[in-house]
């Protein structure tokens, strides 16, 4: 941790030494530690300290961005000069109206000392206990346990100043038996909020169930998807549908269809930094306050997320979702949530005549036909046939190919309990419930098949 004062003072000093053009400075940096294990043994164990300073110069409506990973004044001044040179050679951006003015932010709590102080030895001790429990069942464990401490700061020539520290902890446990695998994971800003014993118990229980996988005929089945499956689907919906660029270009299913029904009445999806399960950064990469954005409300298309420039292009209100200044993807939902329902995983299983319980999805792809949110993927870490309200047996991993608009129009139940999933760092996450979907399409099975010719 460099600390608020040192970062802001350093950037302010730089800002004062820069020429007359408008500038925006964004600092991100911190330490990431990750312990990775396979076969109940740590095989990779790393710690990285890094930072990135984005310098965006504006000459009227011309913009140039240069990034460096140092806070030394010499390289920063050189980078600022390069940013001006890049801006000079660009055509005007008609949607740029200047950097934002200073703003007030709703405070959020994203930093926890206990996470920042967690050591490699503590991580090793935690996983060693899980390895011992797994060994009693004849399992070995793979997975990763990471902690991160970071800071983000935004300053611009208009006097805007924003700073937020954050921590994150994420653990995944994959018990492996002779017959199959289980899975459980957890993410939080505060390491003390994670019930490691419960996570381990879930993973081990799922591995115990995942044995003697049988073949089933392909086709449509009712499915009970655990929250991790939904988090992956929502990650793809962010990319193909809920970001400004896809909306403006017309490839999103929401383009030209705001106010129209896309999904069932029980589906509400939104982006929010103030949720009971987790909180997000109060500002975006331009220092604009993050607003709660309803993307789908009771199945109706309501909106996408914007930054200042994309909002102007779309003649919409900015929502405070600017990405890093060099991002080609533009604004994205960082904290996507699906509204909870009134059911539970156990009630869904009990109510299922015939269907499949899916632990996780694997290797999704949503580029098949974005207008219909067509996606494909595999099931992983335990897929189970449910009959007459009971789990009957495990089945082989299956390929599914499905329009998520159709699937989310056929949701019979949503769980009260939601889980938090990291989107690759402490700042981005998804909060997802478990869902029961009727008539989900399975198109293939994992098998080695006959040996080639």
């Amino acid at each position: 941790m460099i600390g608020r004062e040192r970062i802001l003072e350093g950037l302010e000093r730089l800002l004062k030494r820069l020429p007359g053009e408008q500038f925006e400075l964004v600092y991100t940096g911190g330490r990431s530690d990750l312990t990775r294990y396979t076969r109940s043994e740590i095989h990779q164990n790393v710690s990285v300290e890094n930072m990135r300073v984005y310098i965006r110069a504006a000459l009227g409506k011309r913009l140039g961005v240069v990034t460096v990973n140092t806070l030394e004044e010499g390289p920063l001044l050189q980078a600022a000069k390069q940013a001006v040179e890049l801006a000079q050679r660009q055509p005007e951006n008609p949607y740029f109206e200047g950097f934002p003015s200073p703003a007030e932010y709703e405070p959020t709590t994203t930093y926890f000392e206990a996470t920042a102080k967690f050591t490699p030895k503590q991580r090793a001790e935690v996983v060693k206990k899980v390895f011992a429990e797994a060994e009693r069942l004849g399992f070995e464990v793979s997975g990763a346990f990471s902690t991160s401490t970071g800071e983000i700061a935004v300053l611009n020539s208009n006097g805007l100043e924003a700073y937020q520290p954050l921590t994150g902890v994420e653990i995944s446990l994959v018990p492996v038996s002779q017959e199959g695998m289980g899975y459980a994971d957890a993410f939080a800003h505060d390491v003390e909020k994670i019930d490691l014993e419960a996570v381990a118990a879930r993973a081990l229980e799922r591995c115990s169930l995942n044995k003697g996988q049988q073949d089933i005929p392909l086709g449509q089945y009712d499915v009970i998807l655990e929250p991790g499956c939904l988090a992956e689907v929502m990650r793809w919906l962010n990319l193909i549908a809920f970001r400004a660029q896809a909306f403006i270009e017309g490839t999103s299913f929401l383009a030209g269809k705001l106010g129209e029904r896309a999904m069932g009445e029980n589906i509400t999806i939104y982006d929010s930094i103030h949720e009971p399960e987790a909180q997000g950064l109060p500002f975006d990469f331009q220092g604009c306050p993050k607003r709660k954005v309803t993307l789908i409300e009771r199945g109706i298309n309501r909106g996408v997320v914007f930054d200042l420039m994309s909002a102007r292009q779309a003649k919409a209100e900015p929502t405070g979702h600017a990405g890093p200044p060099d991002s080609p993807y533009g604004p994205m939902p960082w904290n996507i949530c699906m509204e909870a329902g009134d059911s539970s995983l156990e009630e869904m299983v009990a109510s299922c005549e015939k269907g499949l319980l899916v632990t996780r999805f694997h290797y999704l792809n949503g580029f098949l036909d974005p207008k219909r949110a067509m996606m494909t993927g595999m099931t992983r870490y335990g897929t189970f046939l449910v009959e007459e309200g009971k789990i009957k047996h495990a089945v082989k991993n299956l390929r599914w190919t499905e329009s998520m608009l159709r699937a989310f129009s056929n949701v019979r139940a949503i769980s009260r309990k939601r889980e938090v999933f990291s989107y690759g760092g402490a700042a981005g996450f998804a909060i997802a419930p478990a869902v029961y979907i009727e008539g989900f399409t399975f198109t293939g099975v994992q098998e080695e098949g006959a040996v080639g010719q």
Partner: protein, 485 residues
């Protein structure tokens, strides 16, 4: 260079502290990325990224730490942290890591190029992209025209406690264009020379010029427009011909990744998965038909999958993975190769100074087939089939068996002729069955190398630059169709 002395001293200190091995890498990387959309520069940035990483093996367990702060006390602190981490790893040790006896080298390596893209004026690059986009946008149904260029310049210094000292300089360039046509709720896309950023090579700006983006823009636009009114790809089993670029991705997902020995040993199970190519299958498993010969080749000039030495200081090599259809070789490291009784094949690569090296693909290439067989000959030789080109979607299971790929475009083939254009084509299969059904591969004249700068692996995720060479090939009795639902 001061950093070299600091790193050398840190490695010596680690030896004195009881480490049996340590290595250090310092990297200084420059990147330029340009994205233009319609009439706008959507993103234009330059990045400079410098830092060092120290990896230490202490009593059979690994530790790694890295930092961007280039100062002597920081180098000392990071070396200490790497050792502390290795000691923590040791708490769970079951089988101590032992490295092979690969020799340490003192050497240099440099990419050959003609024109440094970092000194080519920005105006010239933007003019090339906007000229191509102007052609793409001549029809208003092309709602989104996009062009990208990316350039990478990397200096890499590797030092090891065994005495290795290797300095390598890499230069890589890539570019591509894309037209997205939209009409009546239908969205169709065509890309050139490849989707998701185009093609990449370890060459200078002359590579970008050789792509002839402007000259190809009209065809790209017309194909995107034609797809708007094309029929969906019919479902069923048929003979499938893949173009060189899609075959490159097929090799990547279904041969490259499963032949990584760390994956086969379960080291990636908790992330992207394992491999059906388990160690017991080596030299026994029929991976494909006898026509299928796939090589790992890190020595190929001009490719982003090439280097002089890997990130363990092992010299670049060429060796077979599949020979006449038989699975014969893995991509290996100094830690894993001894399990097979071998020395490392030189495939340990790290995405940056801040990452540990992992077993990664280099250039994984399908050898060309019959010398004179062209793509048109192959189509003419196909009675009833589908020709698919340019990747659109990709998915494969956690053992690399069940895959499904979508392509941008397909042609129906009847009696040796292309009869109608088809949209949204998908094909699916099981890896060994699929490669077992390969009955024809085009000749060297059709063989092309495809650079992919975004191969993901590991936790924290690393993006690696790899490449695949292939000529179009035919596969019998493959399940094809269009997405339903």
């Amino acid at each position: 260079m001061e950093i070299k002395g600091w790193l050398r001293a840190a490695l010596e200190g680690l030896r004195r502290a009881g480490a049996e091995y340590a290595d250090a890498r310092f990297l200084d990387c420059a990147t330029e990325s340009i994205t233009v959309r319609n009439e706008q520069v959507a993103a234009l940035s330059r990045d400079r990224d410098r830092g060092f990483g120290i990896r230490v093996l202490y009593r059979g367990s690994w530790g790694f730490a890295a930092s961007a702060e280039l100062a002597e006390p920081e180098v000392e602190a990071i070396a200490e942290r790497a050792l502390e981490i290795a000691k923590a790893s040791r708490l769970t040790q079951r089988r101590p890591v032992r490295l092979d006896d690969s020799p340490p080298y003192v050497d240099t390596y440099r990419t050959e190029f003609e024109l440094d893209p970092f000194i080519v004026p920005l105006d010239k690059k933007l003019e090339l992209l906007f000229s191509a986009l102007k052609v793409l946008r001549r029809d208003p149904r092309v709602r989104l025209a996009e062009g990208t260029m990316r350039f990478f310049k990397t200096y890499k210094l590797f030092l090891s406690s065994d005495g290795a000292e290797i300095a390598q300089e890499f230069l890589e360039s890539g570019a591509g264009i894309q037209a997205t046509a939209i009409q009546d709720g239908e969205v169709q896309r065509r890309s050139y020379p490849n989707s998701f950023g185009g093609n990449f090579a370890a060459r200078g700006y002359e590579f970008v010029e050789s792509l002839k983006l402007v000259e190809n823009a009209e065809r790209v636009r017309e194909e995107a427009l034609a797809l708007l009114s094309a029929d969906p790809c019919p479902a069923g089993k048929t003979d499938l011909i893949l173009d060189s670029s899609q075959l490159g991705l097929q090799i990547h997902e279904s041969c490259g990744h499963p032949s990584e020995l760390d994956r086969a040993l379960g080291m990636e199970i908790s992330y992207a998965g394992g491999s059906f190519l388990t160690v017991d299958k080596l030299r026994k498993f029929r991976y494909g038909s006898r026509l299928v010969n796939i090589y790992a080749d890190a020595t190929l000039p001009g490719s982003i999958g090439s280097f002089g030495y890997d990130d363990e200081g092992v010299r670049a090599q060429r060796f077979p993975i599949v020979e006449e259809g038989l699975f014969v070789g893995y991509l290996t490291s100094r830690e894993t190769a001894p399990i097979l009784g071998k020395r490392s094949g030189g495939a340990m690569r790290a995405a940056s100074w801040s990452h540990i090296p992992l077993i990664r693909m280099v250039n994984i290439n399908l050898e060309p087939g019959e010398e004179d067989l062209s793509l048109e000959d192959l189509i003419a030789d196909t009675k009833d089939g589908i020709f698919m080109a340019t990747n659109k979607s990709w998915s494969i299971d956690d053992l690399r068996l069940n895959f499904q790929f979508g392509c941008e475009l397909a042609w129906e083939i009847k009696h040796g002729k292309r009869t109608r254009l088809l949209k949204n084509p998908l094909y699916t299969g099981i890896t060994p069955q699929f490669w077992g059904s390969c009955d024809a591969i085009c000749g060297r004249k059709e063989w092309k190398l495809w650079g992919l700068p975004n191969c993901g692996k590991g936790e924290p995720p690393q993006l690696m630059h790899v490449a695949h060479g292939a000529a179009p090939a035919r596969f019998r009795g493959i399940e094809v169709g269009a997405p339903r639902g």
